[in-house]
Structure formats: structure tokens, C-alpha cells
């Protein structure tokens, strides 16, 4: 097939195909922004150590996360994490209008196209749409960089608008994302065989979900719980024969700890996402058992019929909530530290303590929270895409129901049931798991538990070496474990925000119901 023909066929399609292409372009543009921003953070040059600047800080920025070289890697990583919900949105967009596209591919097969050619067509559609998106994203990044470049009175910047990533790095993002998207399309089409007589989906999952998600969550919790023992075991074991340099040993220990954290976090997040499928199935069964009305019955059957739809729908939202709830646990710990430091300072006679330690981390947590809110918003956009796609796919059945007298409100109620029945428990599980992870990671604030010399005399006597020993005694300082409060308020806010986002999205999605239940839909094939 000639490239021009391939291109013409790849861009052919219905309004739904156009919507899919537009959403793919938008997702690629959105994913480019955190990618380029992360590269920008990494491109900040670290100045050489001087007497004035022994820590090699980049003092031209106001945000400490950009100033300290050691924090920039983590900041870039956090920015890249923001790309995850966007990529999930891209994946959800790719499913939009899939049945129609599959029929088009089958028609092409009927006209003589080979399986390879139809796969290349689909890859080209996604790849081109993504490329347009990444170029738009790059343009947006460059324009935004100019618009946000506002040094303050001392010449310092809030954002790193004074540096640019290297051209190869930017090219890797702009060209790499479309390549990855095209490859992902090919992988997704592996499960679909477009035959001249139609489309056959292979290996469809059937049956009730098994409780593997709980095991994954357990594995995650176990991994995070094992960090301390693992680090201690490494420290206690004589590994001198392996690591001549103690710094190398510490680096290896740190890397192992980070790896364990990531394995744990990954297992936990995947467990929560797959758990949404499990929750869906059982919510559907419960609903089916106790449902009275047809709306709940419809929803119950849909939930048990394809429980994994909830996993796909809520994946990004739940992942964001796990991170958000974990961040809430970190914030609770930082607040506790700050409170204890304040108390200690007050006891020492400094009433107006404002320590730099906690305030720095607390302001960092503000940024993390902002990232989580952004991720939830992006996830809600993905949810909207999935919801509308579901309505469009079922439009014939819905139109037939409306024609037979089923009120649209019944269908709308069934869709709301279908969304909320798994969403509410899944949100609670995500918050619980996220907070559990965070809580385990930050641990408790322990004070005391050691012996201390106390001089029970006047300052003069205590300072005099001749008399000090006489008045000095060794006392055991009681070991006190201070546990951070469960940040119920923040968790409730996060959960309520997520459920509200789901509700708003569902409401927006239902606006498409009227158009898709028109009697004309009964005549379309």
C-alpha cells in the first residue's frame, strides 16, 4: 500500500473516529508538558562549590525543590508521575469508537488489506495524532516558558524558565511519545483479529474476579514494612569484603530501599486498581440481590458482566488517591514533628519557633497535593471519555429501550449506579491503602528512651567542674512514642473531592445520553 493511501485510510472515519483522534492529540499534548518540565528541572546546572555556596545550590530560584541539586531528581520524578494519568487518559481515548474502527478495519480486510496493513493503519492514526499533540505540547511549553518568565525584585525565578533541556532530550519526548503510542496501539490490536467477516476479540476474560488484588496490596504493605529490617540487616551484616568504600555500601542500601519502596508501591497501586474490578463484581452481585428497580438491575448486570471496566475507568483516579492519601500521612507526620519541635522550643524558652525543617517539607507537601488534585482532574477527564464511549457503544440498545417507553431517567440512573457503586468503596480502599503505606513509611516520632545526665543545682555549680559531678545524676528519659494523627479531614476531603469529580463527570457524560438515544440510532448499523 502506498504511503499516501495508507495516510488517507488512516485519517478516514466517522465523527467518533475524529473525536478519538482529537482526544489522542490532546492527551499527547498534555503528556508532553510534564515530560518537558521534568527535563527542564533536570537541566538546571549545578554550580561549582565555593566558600559562599558550599552546597552547590542554584540560588537563582525561589523554590527550594529547584535550589537544592539533591531534590531536583525527586521533583522531576514527581512531574513524570503527573504524566501517568495523562497516559491513562490517552489509553482511554484510544478505546473510544473502537467498535466502529474495528468494523472499518474489517471492511478494509474484506477489500483485500492484509492483517499487517490494518495494524499499520491503526498505528499510523495513533502515531500521527500523537505527533501533532506532542508538537502542540512543545509549542505550548515554549510559549508558556516565555509567559512565565518573571524574575522578582532580586532577580530570582519561581520556575526554571531560564533553562532549556537539550535538543536531543526534547526530541526524545516529542518523537518518543508518538512511537510509544503507536507501539501501544499495535499491542492492543494483538487481542483483536480483524477478519474480512468482522472483528473477533480474543481471550475475553470471563468469570468472577479472584482475590489476587488483596494479595498484591498485602505484598505492597509487606514490602514497605520490610524496608527498615532490610536496611538494618544490610547495616548489621559485615559486607566489608563486598564494599570497600562505606559510601558505596550506603548507596547500595539506599538503592535497595528505594527499589523495595517502588515494588511495594507498584504492587499496592496495581492491587487497588485491580481491586476495583473485584469490588465492581461484588457490588454488582449485591445490587442484583437487593435491587428493586430496573435501573439498579441494569447497573448490577453491567457491573458483574464486565467488572474490569471499573478497573480501567478508575485506574488513574485510584492511583492518584493512593498517592494523595500517602502524601496526607507524610503531612501528618511533618505536622507532628513541627508540633513537637515547637513544644521543645517552648520548653527551652523560645516561644516563637518557626523551624525551617518542617515548613520546608510542608510547603513541599502543598506542591504534592497540587499535583494530586491535577491528577484527579485529569483522571476525571479520562472517566468522562470512558463514560461517553460506553453510552455511544450502547446507543442502539438505549435507543430501543427509550422507544419502548423506558424513561431516559431510568437509563441515566442505571449509569449513575454503575459508576458510583464501585467508585465509592474503591475510593475508600485507595485512601486506606495509600494512607497505610504512607503511615508505615513515615513511622512514629520517638522521643526519649535513653539516659541523660541532669545537673540538679544552680547554673554556677553545674558549670564548675569541681562541683558538677556532685549534683549530676543519670536519669532515664522515658521513651515516648508520638504517633501522627490520622489525617481524617484531609482524607475525607480527598475522598469527597474524588467522588464529587466522579459525580460531575457522570453528570457531564449523561448530557450525551439524549443525543445517543434518538430514534435515528435504531436505523444506524
Amino acid at each position: 500500500m502506498r504511503p499516501a493511501t495508507l495516510l488517507r485510510l488512516a485519517l478516514a472515519g466517522t465523527r467518533t473516529d475524529a473525536a478519538r483522534v482529537t482526544l489522542t492529540t490532546l492527551s499527547a499534548a498534555l503528556a508532553t508538558l510534564p515530560g518537558l518540565t521534568a527535563l527542564t528541572v533536570l537541566a538546571i546546572p549545578t554550580p561549582p562549590a565555593t566558600d559562599d555556596n558550599p552546597n552547590r545550590w542554584s540560588e537563582q530560584y525561589t523554590i527550594q525543590l529547584l535550589v537544592e541539586p539533591g531534590l531536583r531528581g525527586g521533583t522531576a520524578f514527581a512531574l513524570l508521575l503527573l504524566a501517568i494519568p495523562v497516559l491513562v487518559l490517552a489509553g482511554q481515548s484510544a478505546r473510544m469508537g473502537a467498535p466502529g474502527r474495528d468494523r472499518r478495519l474489517a471492511a478494509l480486510r474484506l477489500a483485500g488489506a492484509t492483517p499487517g496493513q490494518v495494524t499499520r493503519l491503526a498505528m499510523l492514526e495513533t502515531g500521527l495524532a500523537s505527533l501533532v499533540g506532542t508538537v502542540v505540547g512543545l509549542a505550548g511549553y515554549l510559549v508558556g516558558r516565555k509567559l512565565l518568565h518573571h524574575p522578582d525584585a532580586s532577580g530570582r525565578l519561581v520556575l526554571p524558565t531560564d533553562v532549556l533541556p537539550s535538543v536531543p532530550a526534547m526530541a526524545a519526548v516529542v518523537l518518543g511519545l508518538p512511537l510509544v503510542a503507536a507501539a501501544a496501539t499495535a499491542v492492543m490490536l494483538r487481542r483483536v483479529t480483524a477478519t474480512p467477516l468482522g472483528v473477533v476479540r480474543r481471550a475475553r476474560r470471563t468469570g468472577a474476579p479472584r482475590p489476587w488484588p488483596a494479595l498484591l496490596i498485602g505484598l505492597g504493605v509487606l514490602a514497605v514494612a520490610m524496608i527498615d529490617p532490610i536496611v538494618r540487616a544490610f547495616r548489621d551484616t559485615r559486607l566489608d569484603w563486598l564494599f570497600a568504600d562505606p559510601a558505596t555500601r550506603d548507596l547500595v542500601i539506599a538503592l535497595v530501599a528505594v527499589l523495595v519502596v517502588f515494588v511495594g508501591l507498584f504492587a499496592g497501586v496495581v492491587g487497588v486498581i485491580l481491586g476495583a474490578g473485584w469490588i465492581s463484581y461484588f457490588a454488582g452481585q449485591l445490587l442484583h440481590r437487593f435491587a428493586r428497580g430496573p435501573a439498579a438491575l441494569l447497573a448490577a448486570r453491567r457491573l458483574t458482566d464486565d467488572p474490569w471496566a471499573s478497573s480501567r475507568t478508575f485506574a488513574a483516579l485510584l492511583a492518584s488517591l493512593v498517592v494523595g492519601a500517602g502524601a496526607a500521612a507524610f503531612r501528618a507526620r511533618f505536622l507532628l514533628d513541627e508540633q513537637l519541635q515547637r513544644e521543645q522550643s517552648r520548653r527551652a524558652g523560645y516561644d516563637d519557633y518557626a523551624g525551617p525543617f518542617s515548613s520546608f517539607y510542608l510547603s513541599t507537601m502543598d506542591l504534592v497535593d497540587l499535583t494530586v488534585v491535577t491528577a484527579v482532574a485529569i483522571a476525571a477527564a479520562g472517566l468522562l471519555v470512558t463514560l461517553v464511549e460506553g453510552i455511544v457503544t450502547r446507543r442502539r440498545a438505549y435507543a430501543a429501550l427509550v422507544a419502548t417507553g423506558v424513561p431516559r431517567t431510568t437509563i441515566a440512573t442505571s449509569i449513575l449506579w454503575q459508576v458510583l457503586a464501585p467508585a465509592v468503596p474503591a475510593v475508600l480502599v485507595a485512601l486506606g491503602v495509600g494512607h497505610g503505606f504512607g503511615r508505615q513509611f513515615v513511622g512514629d516520632h520517638v522521643t526519649g528512651g535513653f539516659q541523660e545526665e541532669v545537673c540538679r543545682a544552680s547554673a554556677e555549680l553545674c558549670q564548675d567542674p569541681a562541683t558538677r559531678d556532685r549534683y549530676t545524676e543519670i536519669v532515664q528519659v522515658e521513651r515516648v512514642i508520638h504517633s501522627p494523627d490520622v489525617p481524617l479531614e484531609q482524607l475525607a476531603l480527598l475522598g469527597a473531592g474524588a467522588v464529587a469529580a466522579v459525580l460531575i463527570t457522570a453528570g457531564l457524560g449523561l448530557l450525551f445520553l439524549r443525543a445517543n438515544t434518538a430514534v435515528q440510532e435504531l436505523r444506524s448499523t
Partner: protein, 233 residues
Amino acid sequence: MTHLQARGVVKAYGPTPALRGVTLDVAEGEIVAVSGPSGCGKSTLLHCLAGILRPDVGEVSWRGDRIDTWSESARSRLRRTEFGVLFQFGQLVAELTAAENVALPLLLAGTGRRAARTAAVNWLDRFGVAELADVRPGEMSGGQQQRCATARALVTEPRVLFADEPTGALDTLTGEQVLTQLVRLAREQRTTVVLVTHEPRVAAYADREVVLRDGMVDHTGLGFEASLGGGVR
């Protein structure tokens, strides 16, 4: 007695006219086939008569009341309670079992689940597919699906059944079987049937055949069964 009436019904989809002044009377218990070539406005007429579409000009009356002036929800209620609607394909909800699909109109009317299921299974039995009560549409043949859909259309014992090419997606033999059952049950219940078809073979089951051409009634004749002495005048 005239049950259902269309007076000078005009309906267009944008610039394309579908109906250009159709007048039709349907008596209680009568089986009327609306036939004609593709694009002549058969389905549009059925949708107007069933209150699914509102005509641009003209009147549609049900037992003397003009339903074309009713609100959407009132017409929906009418379809739910007094009418049954049957399409060519795709009307069953894929995720529901056959019994649940058939029970759906009863559940909407407020019948309890147990009673609705009993009635649904009873209707499936009348169509000879009771053994499929717990089977989903995806696991049924086209004929079985159409029998379930017909059972669903009749489960509320409607006064009028509107059927739009009910056997269009079936092979000849299965189509004949479904149609025979439909007509038999309609006659037993004294249900009025408005049947849209482009097949003379199907139209022959009706008491009367109304042939449309270019959005207008071309001519009216007797159905095959009516010509043998059956049917209602």
C-alpha cells in the same frame, strides 16, 4: 371502532421528506401491514403512530386523544403501558438474561421482581424459549433473540404492538415461526398490530396492507390471511 388514527401526517429529516401527508385508520384488534420500497417512510410512519416521533404537520390520535401534542414523558408512559414496540434487531439489553429482558417493562411499571420474572418466564414459554430464561442475548440465535424481544413487547399485554421489520434479520423459516407466534398471540389477546415490512410474504399475515410510496399512501389492500376469511374489519 378506530383505535389509532393518523391524519395528514408530514415528517421530514432536515430537507429530506419522509412522510408527505399520510392518513390512516387502524381498528381495534386489526393487524395492519405497512409496506413499500426502501425509503418510502414506513418506519417513520410507525414511529409517528407509536409516539416515538412527533409529526411536523398533521395529527396522530389514540382512542380519540391527540398524542402528537403530548409531552415526551407522557408519550413514553403511553408506550410503556398501552403500546409494545418491536424492532428488527438490537433491542435486547446484552447484559440482562432473557427473563430479565422480558421482565424489564413490568419492573418499570412497578411490578415486584419475583412476579415480573414469573410473568416473563411464562411469556418466554408461550414463545417456546422458556429454557433460555437465564441465558443472555449474546448466547442466543437471532430467532431466539427475536422471540425474546417479541415476548418483551407483549409482556405488558399492550393494546397495540408496533413491529418494525420484526423478521428482517431472520432466515425465512425462523421468520415464519416468529411471525406465526406473534400473530397467534396477538389474535388471542386482541392486540392491534402495526407491522412494517417490505416483504409481501410478511404482509400476507396482516388483515390489511397499506402500501406507501414516496411518503404517501399508494394503495390499501387485504392481507393474505384476511383474503382467506380471517382477520378483523
